[in-house]
Amino acid sequence: MTIPGHPGAEAAYDGNLMAGPLSELFALDVTVAVVRCRGCGASSEVATLRVYGPEPGLVGRCPGCDDVLLRVVRTPDAVWLDLGGVTSLRVPAPRVPLEEDVDRSAQT
């Protein structure tokens, strides 16, 4: 939901608050991931999201348009994740060795 004139200035937290529950889901650090907003198309690092919560759940909103990008709820026996507000999530990952690098290392 876009709220003209209210760019989320009331959010008490940024996306770093999501590091804990997201670390239960992802092997990589998702706070440095870049999400693309389904509403306005802006790309943002998760750490820069405007985050409301932490209870009843974490709601991460787009710094550009305030749409809900992702939500995380930790119940006693599950982690619930909603990524419905993003079109993509890009997580920096360790470089996969190229095939020739692997071949070369095998020869030495």
């Binding site: 709220i3 209210h6 959010a11 209870e55 759940g57």
Partner: protein, 199 residues
């Protein structure tokens, strides 16, 4: 213990007996929000009710104010475990709002300014159990607590009492709301401690 809904009839009088399982008492009024407070003033405010066959009823703020209002004193229970006793609200009963709405719906999905939603069985909004509240403790309902008008359904966890209400969608089938889609209980009875799905 019976589990029928209690509406505004209240619980037994002892403080401990009025505290549902897993709850603690607070004298504060914590503000929980899933987003920024939407800027809605009385001039721009409108409430709609839409039925399953597409009929739409609307009320402006003056039209809401012209309806008979009532004052209730109730206990409220948040799923995050705080409870607050003897809170005083003034508003229009949902029985009054829905009196001329013809529907065969069994469910309601409440929509808020700002995009929040929550779902309830329609019967939980009727029979003196729910108010569209516009005043708290004798004053206009402040924006951070849901003003201009919020739902008040005190027999369910307080996330069902949606702030900044702008519409009620009447449905033949249940449709989960903002938190109900993400692990929270579909009904949310504090006396049965229905916090999460499966409780």
């Amino acid at each position: 213990m019976d589990f029928v809904t209690r509406g505004f009839q209240g619980r037994p009088r002892g403080r401990d007996e009025r505290l549902p399982p897993g709850q603690y008492l607070t004298d504060d009024f914590p503000v929980l929000s899933a987003g920024p407070t939407p800027p809605v003033d009385h001039d721009g405010w409108e409430l709609w009710v839409a039925t399953e066959d597409g009929a739409r009823h609307t009320w402006s703020w003056p039209e809401l104010m012209a309806l008979p209002a009532e004052t209730v004193t109730v206990d409220i229970h948040c799923v995050t475990s705080w409870s607050k006793l003897d809170t005083e609200w003034r508003g229009v009963s949902l029985d009054t709002l829905l009196a001329d709405v013809e529907t065969a719906a069994d469910f309601a999905l409440v929509h808020s300014y700002g995009g929040y939603t929550t779902n309830l069985p329609l019967e939980d909004l009727l029979d003196g159990q729910a108010l569209l509240a516009f005043a708290y403790d004798g004053d206009d309902l402040r924006p951070e607590h849901g003003g201009p008008a919020r739902l008040l359904v005190p027999h369910l966890y307080f996330w069902k009492s949606a702030k900044w209400v702008r519409g009620i969608e009447l449905l033949l089938a249940d449709s989960p709301g903002f938190w109900e889609q993400l692990g929270y209980h579909d009904y949310g009875d504090p006396w049965r401690e229905q916090r999460y799905q499966g409780d």
